[in-house]
């Protein structure tokens, strides 16, 4: 639909031009010619100035997301590095900022049931512990979701982790459909700034990753569709 807009607009433009060029002005409203047009012009300018005043006076509170402190967040790079570190069995401290939830699950049996409900795929990395302390350490990581330079994590619910008796359940939330408006600065403005001139904010979706440290005597039971990787050092 958007693609035919310029054509329709052009046709209307040509039609108007012909209409306004014709004399006599039998079909043109009186406010567009003669003595009244001066008031139409003045009224239009005044209306625009009043709207501009209103725009600057009233606060704009419907802002979505948080503007990142960093200029250039590379979510894909963060996710890739996190996956690499997890598969190597050594996640550096700098990734602690992406920890969503951390739990210790006590195991009274020889096995732990792991489930993922409502979701499609969840990456789980499992590392064997050196000690048999009957505790499974589970850490859920979440990398940021960004649109342009805005982090929108707070507006999107995260995967939930619940622990039970010999059971660990992850559940995907019901995601709301996020509908946003973005305003692009006009070309006579952005030529004096470094802003992107295209109407396409770079959207980078974050991802979830589970890192588990499991005693070697504990067996894990999980459905086939789960993406489980055993860390080998």
């Amino acid at each position: 639909m958007i693609t035919i807009f310029p054509i329709i607009a052009f046709v209307i433009l040509v039609f108007l031009f012909i209409l306004l060029s014709r004399r006599p002005y039998a079909v043109i409203p009186k406010v567009l010619y003669g003595k009244r047009v001066r008031w139409t012009v003045i009224g239009y300018v005044v209306a625009l100035l009043v709207i501009t005043g209103v725009f600057y006076v009233f606060p704009k509170t419907n802002s979505f997301g948080v503007i990142a402190e960093e200029d250039d967040i590379k979510t894909w790079e963060i996710s890739d590095n996190l996956y690499e570190a997890a598969s190597a069995g050594n996640i550096p401290e700098e990734y602690e900022q992406y920890i969503e939830q951390r739990e210790e699950v006590e195991i009274s049996d020889e096995s732990l049931n792991v489930n993922y409900v409502n979701g499609e795929s969840l990456s789980i990395f499992i590392k064997e512990k050196d000690t048999n302390d009957d505790l499974v350490d589970v850490t859920l990581y979440r990398t940021p979701t960004t649109v342009g330079d805005v982090v929108i994590d707070d507006e999107i619910p995260s995967v939930q982790m619940e622990t039970g008796s010999n059971e660990l359940t992850f559940s995907a939330p019901e995601y709301p459909e996020v509908k946003l408006i973005s305003y692009q600065k006009e070309f006579p403005i952005i030529q004096f700034t470094d802003e992107n001139s295209w109407m396409n904010e770079d959207t980078q979706m974050g991802s979830n990753l589970v890192y588990m440290e499991v005693p070697e005597n504990i067996k894990l039971d999980y459905p086939e569709y789960m993406d489980v990787t055993y860390v080998t050092e």
Partner: protein, 247 residues
Amino acid sequence: MYLTHGRLLGHVKSQFQYKLKAYIGVFSSIIVVQLIALLFSVDSGSSTSSSDGVQIDIDYFSANTVIGFTMITVLINAIHITTKTFQEDGFIFSTTRLTANLSNVLFLLTVSVFGGMTAMLSSVVVRLGSAIMFQRQVLGASMDISASELFYGMGASIAYMLLVSAIGYVFGSLVQINRLFMFIIPAGLYGVLVLLEDTNGNQIGETVFTFFFHESSFLLLLLKVIVVSTVLFACSLLITNNKEVRQ
């Protein structure tokens, strides 16, 4: 016919005042076009991203359409002002080609200021209007537009309007000399743009576009536009100066 300096200014002033009243339809045509363009600015573009059940839909808004439409309207009006019908309107005064041209330039400058200013102010209407109409959340601080940005945007818009009006005026003047120019100029320009490439393989059109639209200094942009527009208006003056007043 020659005029002394004082009389020249007086004639230009009275013709300019007459044209402001007589051609006021130009201003109303800009208003109508901007109002229509505002409707088209409601949906300037959209994008959808999804992953693992999360879907993000973004609708983009901008007043670029309004500015573009206004530029086209100013261009058409600048051409129109050179036509015989419009020129004869000015002959109710004692006039020369020089005074007629100077008053036309002043009129086009006024139209450019009006068109550029209102087109840029409409960016605020697009922002407020869409926020009220759609009641959606706005991504980050994209709705913000500082007063200085608006000021520079307005200045650049006015400059672009002046530039297109100068282009339209020189084109119209050439067409008045010979109607064949109506076809020769667009065809010739197209040929030049397509065939000529500079040493880096860039199209000339791209170079001209970059010369104005990628200029990151506001003052340099103004300087470029003023110089080019002055040259174009001077060319129009030279082109039409040899014609008899009522030719």
